[in-house]
Symmetry: C2
Subunit: 198 residues, 2 copies
DNA sequence: GTCTATAGTGCGATAGAC
DNA sequence: GTCTATCGCACTATAGAC
């Protein structure tokens, strides 16, 4: 008999999502989560900084995929071409068999503003990291920020569509379409701005 | 001698910012803020849902300005032209004499992730409202979301530049420039996507 | 205005593995 | 013995209930 079951963090994660789904985020106490896997509240807080963090990836694997995608683009690529490369790479993190799990997790997040806040912070942190990577590849500071924010926007819109009812396409295919729509939207705006009023 | 000073909410707001600046957000208790203006903790929570909310506009005047700007654009305007109109209208909320106050407030927010989270939620809520207004004017659902998110991105980037050290231009002027840069970034991407790899 | 549940922190104790 | 995961206890502050 071992003194501790292995993988305490992962067990807490699974238990937390299940309880959040069953009875809601606010109706679930940290004590309840911990006890359900034979641990104490104090141990929960050794693994997660707070009650929300248990739903988010602490290793930032998605961020690493995005950065790898940026750096995989050819040196001659325009900023948004690097973003397109990053989106394609990151899509590998969401194969079709994860779609249902993503739907469940997202329904919990959507139901609670506090969780939505945390998700937005993660996305903003991701955008900042991408912008930094673009700057490291020679993109001007402000252009890098704009391109990175546009990238996470496209990712967010595509992800929302990916988990929509009845959606069959892969995340990569949806991302490609959404990025194209963004490009179409801005086409012609530059000239319109020059002739129009401030 | 009046029974109570007018504008309890406003007094709490001023006291909170001052204390957050002086000693930090986490080092300041709600009790401390309330007592400093002769009120109790209980009263603070009658005015603000939580400790962070005291730094944010509860009336969403900025959001109203954005929506008015969207609806002020001519019916023939393209989605991003409606966004340009909204940005121009909203800039009126940040005259030059507010710049220093904005700098102070933003330095507090930047120093605390919890406050950053709340700000991101407000921005996301603003984007959702703008998207809704665009849809009401006939813009397709996904295009409306993309245009609205791009609008808040431009606003955020421009605002950051507006409060940067030494910046002299008006917010409206900076917004115009940033929107132009976004348009330039995406120019040519649509055709590049068609010929490039997925 | 009072009372209470819960989140989250700090520090020390414990009990195994090595 | 050291190292480390976990627990126990005391405590504060937020936030909501009554």
């Amino acid at each position: 008999m071992v003194r501790w079951e292995p993988g305490a963090g992962e067990r807490l994660r699974v238990a937390a999502l299940e309880l959040y789904v069953r009875q809601g985020f606010e109706q679930t106490t940290v004590e309840e989560i911990a006890r359900s896997v034979g641990l104490t509240e104090r141990t929960f807080f050794r693994y997660f900084a707070d009650k929300r963090e248990v739903l988010f990836d602490p290793q930032n694997l998605l961020q690493e995929a995005f950065l790898a995608g940026v750096n995989a683009a050819p040196p001659t690529a325009a900023p948004l071409e690097m973003i397109a490369s990053a989106l394609a790479t990151s899509a590998a993190f969401f194969p079709d068999d994860r779609r249902n799990w993503s739907r469940q997790r997202q329904s919990v997040i959507a139901a609670n503003p506090a969780l939505k806040e945390r998700e937005l912070l993660k996305l903003a942190t991701l955008a900042a990291a991408i912008a930094e990577a673009l700057r490291a590849r020679g993109v001007a500071a402000q252009a890098a920020t704009l391109a990175a924010e546009s990238g996470t926007t496209v990712f967010g819109v595509a992800f929302t569509q990916w988990i929509a009812d009845g959606e069959q396409r892969s995340l990569a295919a949806i991302e490609h379409e959404v990025l194209g729509e963004l490009a179409a939207l801005t086409t012609g705006l530059a000239t319109a701005l020059d002739r129009g009023p401030a």
